[in-house]
């Protein structure tokens, strides 16, 4: 962009200077863009040839620099929607992170709770369905199946210490929960991110 310096009314120049000062903590490109837009606006409403009364009205309609910057801050702070890298990493770590020496899963929990795109309820579900994700599932699976020991081969397998039918049903239900839980939880989180 080429900057043709247009003569603004001295009061308008003072306003631009005040805006620049107030905006000094903004990222440089953003600040330059904002100042350029406001300058161009003032060139229309408060040129050097305008009367003082016209300029004062124009500045009042434009609003205080602080007001404009507050709006800029609000717009910049508006969280982006949907799944970002942060959220995708959180979901993957929750599912599989525990295979990385358990720490991965904890990292997933930290990412989950630090994201602003989920509600507390979503975060609770993500944490507790299933703790440890698929690692937790595999671990619990091994732990429950090890109470049964089988020997023999082919069709002649005998199992000792096997659980009762009720316990077996319970085990199957637990197995289904452990297998589908992390997946369902991941899909739920992906849908709920906003």
């Amino acid at each position: 962009m080429t900057t043709t310096t247009t003569e603004l009314h001295p009061l308008a120049e003072a306003y631009v200077k005040e805006l620049k000062d107030a905006a000094r903590r903004m990222p440089r490109t953003q600040r330059n863009e904002l100042v350029a837009e406001i300058r161009s606006h003032l060139a229309e409403t408060a040129p050097a040839t305008a009367s003082q009364a016209e300029v004062l009205t124009a500045l009042e309609r434009l609003g205080e620099p602080a007001e404009i910057l507050a709006e800029q801050g609000a717009e910049a702070a508006a969280p982006p929607r949907g799944l970002g890298l942060h959220e995708i990493a959180a979901i993957l770590l929750l599912m599989f992170g525990a295979f990385l020496f358990l720490v991965g899963w904890l990292g997933g929990v930290v990412l989950l709770w630090s994201s602003r795109r989920w509600t507390t309820r979503d975060k609770l579900i993500g944490t507790f369905v299933v703790p440890g994700g698929y690692f937790g599932a595999a671990f619990a699976g091994i732990a429950t199946s090890s109470t049964t020991s089988c020997f023999g081969s082919g069709r002649h397998v005998t199992c000792v210490g096997g659980p009762s039918t009720a316990a077996q049903i319970g085990q199957i239900a637990l197995g289904v929960f452990l297998l589908l839980g992390p997946l369902a939880s991941a899909l739920y989180l992906a849908r709920r991110a906003r």
């Binding site: 161009s40 229309e44 309609r61 609003g63």
Partner: protein, 112 residues
């Protein structure tokens, strides 16, 4: 200015305002001050003109509008805005939602 406005009203205005910007750019390009001036002329839409520039900046960042600076005969360069395809799609979506929303709210208000 009247008494302080509750934040829900300014939220409502803020929510609708960006679609008014998109509406102004349908089928035509306009430079910043044209957009700001048109919105400021409409009663009750804009409290301070300057706060529209951050809005324009967000619409650029979200790729709903694109812009180019161009020299003008009258003075300083002007920033011209136009809708991007995703801006057009967003506006079309808003149109459908808006007419449903407006009709429902109007119906409820008239029922009082």
């Amino acid at each position: 200015m009247g008494p302080a406005e509750p934040s829900s009203i300014s939220q409502l205005r803020r929510g609708v305002l960006e679609y008014c910007v998109l509406a102004l750019l349908r089928g035509t390009e306009r430079y910043s001050y044209e957009i700001v001036h048109a919105l400021a002329q409409a009663d009750g839409l804009v409290t301070t003109e300057g706060t529209l520039y951050p809005l324009l900046s967000r619409l650029r960042k979200e790729d709903l509008v694109s812009s180019t600076w161009r020299e003008s005969d009258a003075g300083p360069p002007r920033r011209y805005y136009r809708l991007t395809p995703s801006g057009e799609a967003r506006f079309t979506m808003f149109l459908g939602e808006w007419s449903r929303f407006r009709d429902s709210v109007d119906a409820l208000l008239e029922g009082q």
